[in-house]
Amino acid sequence: MNPYIHSALLLVGITVAFLTIMLLCAFAVLAERRVLAFIQGRVGPNRVGYGGILQPFADFLKTMLKEDLVPDQSTRFVFMLAPIIAIVTAIMAIAVYPFGPTITIPFTDISIPLRIAQFDVALLYVLGVTSVGVYGLALAGWSSNNKYSLMGGLRSSAQMISYELALGLSLIGVILISGTLDLYQIVEQQSGWYGMQWNILYQPLGFIIYLISAIAETNRVPFDLPEAETELVAGFHTEYSSIKFLLFFNAEYINMITVSMLATTLFLGGWNGPGVATFPLLGVFYFFAKILFFLFLYIWLRGTLPRFRFDQLMNFGWKFLMPVAILNIILTSTIMFLTMD
């Protein structure tokens, strides 16, 4: 293929993926508010646009136009740096996910896989980028010079270190089965047999461990101790306002989306679904449908479960999830060794 056409297609792909994720993020916020309202027997925001469809944009404008406060005694440079780290690491993780199968552009002989970057160790890249994302929260807590922020930052870093281990270990089962770290190949291996090749059927334990530790990694209910409103005002982003707050908010939702994308890619067959072989673009629809399922699960959990206590959180992560994840690895490798022939 002509390298310039390739570059142009890549540029289009990056733009489309970025805008899609941003819009998905905006409407996830709206969906969260409406669904929570439904669960709690309220109405929720329904005035801006049809059924409140324009509410995210109104909120965006409102938050943007607030005064950008910087605390007097804060460490200014780090205070600025923290939201940048949070949002950049959140967005960077999108680059390696396959959004759909390889499609052929009509009337040309150009066929492109629907992903931005091909990377041999895509899975490790995702884990690495998300692990760097801790700094955004920790540094925000430290630099605000506020005891609530500091407590939030400390909690988030301790929590994310603890649950990163269980998360990484829960993925090893999938890696053992597929034998590759390339997300595109992992998805391709799960196609066929009417969904009977999805990894969730072979790794149910790994899937549950991944789901729990992913919710903890994204600091969501019931693991939202870094921003527990009743104890810490707003946790690590207490002192943030205007666009910096918006960046943190956005980063949290993008993290939710990327974690859902990883779950979809590794366990639920990615873009696989009925009819993808004939109409490859359907794959994108299935992919996003599965992501939306996980996002709904997040909101559902938030409307249902109370918050953990911090010592319960630590005990659960280290003394229950990690041993179970190791057990999952041992089980998987033993079964694979016995059925190798």
Binding site: V121, L124, Y125, L127, G128, L150, L154, S157
Partner: protein
Amino acid sequence: MGSWSLVSAHWSVLIGHWRLVISRWSRLTSDFCLLLMLGLLFIIFGGFAIGCAISMVVQRNPLYSAISLIGVFVSLACLYVMLAAPFIAAVQVIVYAGAIMVLVIFVIMLLNVEEEEPRPQKLRFLVPVAVLLAAILIAEAAFILSSVQMSQDDPPVSSSSVGLTSSIGTGMFTKYLLPFEITSVLLLMAIVGAMSLARRSGLVGPETRVVPGSQVLPFSLVNPERIGDLSPVETDSTAEAARLMGLDQSTPSEEK
């Protein structure tokens, strides 16, 4: 009819010719662009790594030093990717930037270390030694650089499987199994050692029975003549502890 086919044939030849020209030209320029990009990226990441390293040494605030060190790790990981070693790059980010430095920053935040004041330098004799060591390092680097440039033949590109996941895994579990296991035992020893040291040299001995409300002090704090004696002395209140330690001057203690 004939003239039409002639025209179309003419056009197709012309278009085919132009297609060839465009594809050749674009391949040439894109190769050039790729080389330019690689050079540019190397300069950016290398410069960022050097800048962060200098900043790490120069900064007085320990947290800024830690952030600079993270910058060094991340830019080194980018350089590893450019050297076709993606696995090493990913592990560099996950292990060093993602885990170890988080712990370092966690400790700095917990202790809330203040900015260090410039203080009179002890150990002045180390300065010439440092200069000497730096000179040796620079000489070594210069020697390696010159010797590399002297060898004209390019290294084979296709056979570089050093940084790939499968080659690392195979090597680690077959050829280098013993060093790998020994390293893991070494790490285990470090953990156990740290645990036992932290338990022994702390204020509270392992066999001390801590009563709620009382304060437990090591004997060396109470009596200066018994430095190193960590056997516990229990007090019931802060005032009594202060009296024992000689902080409260109004009521001199009998212990001294």
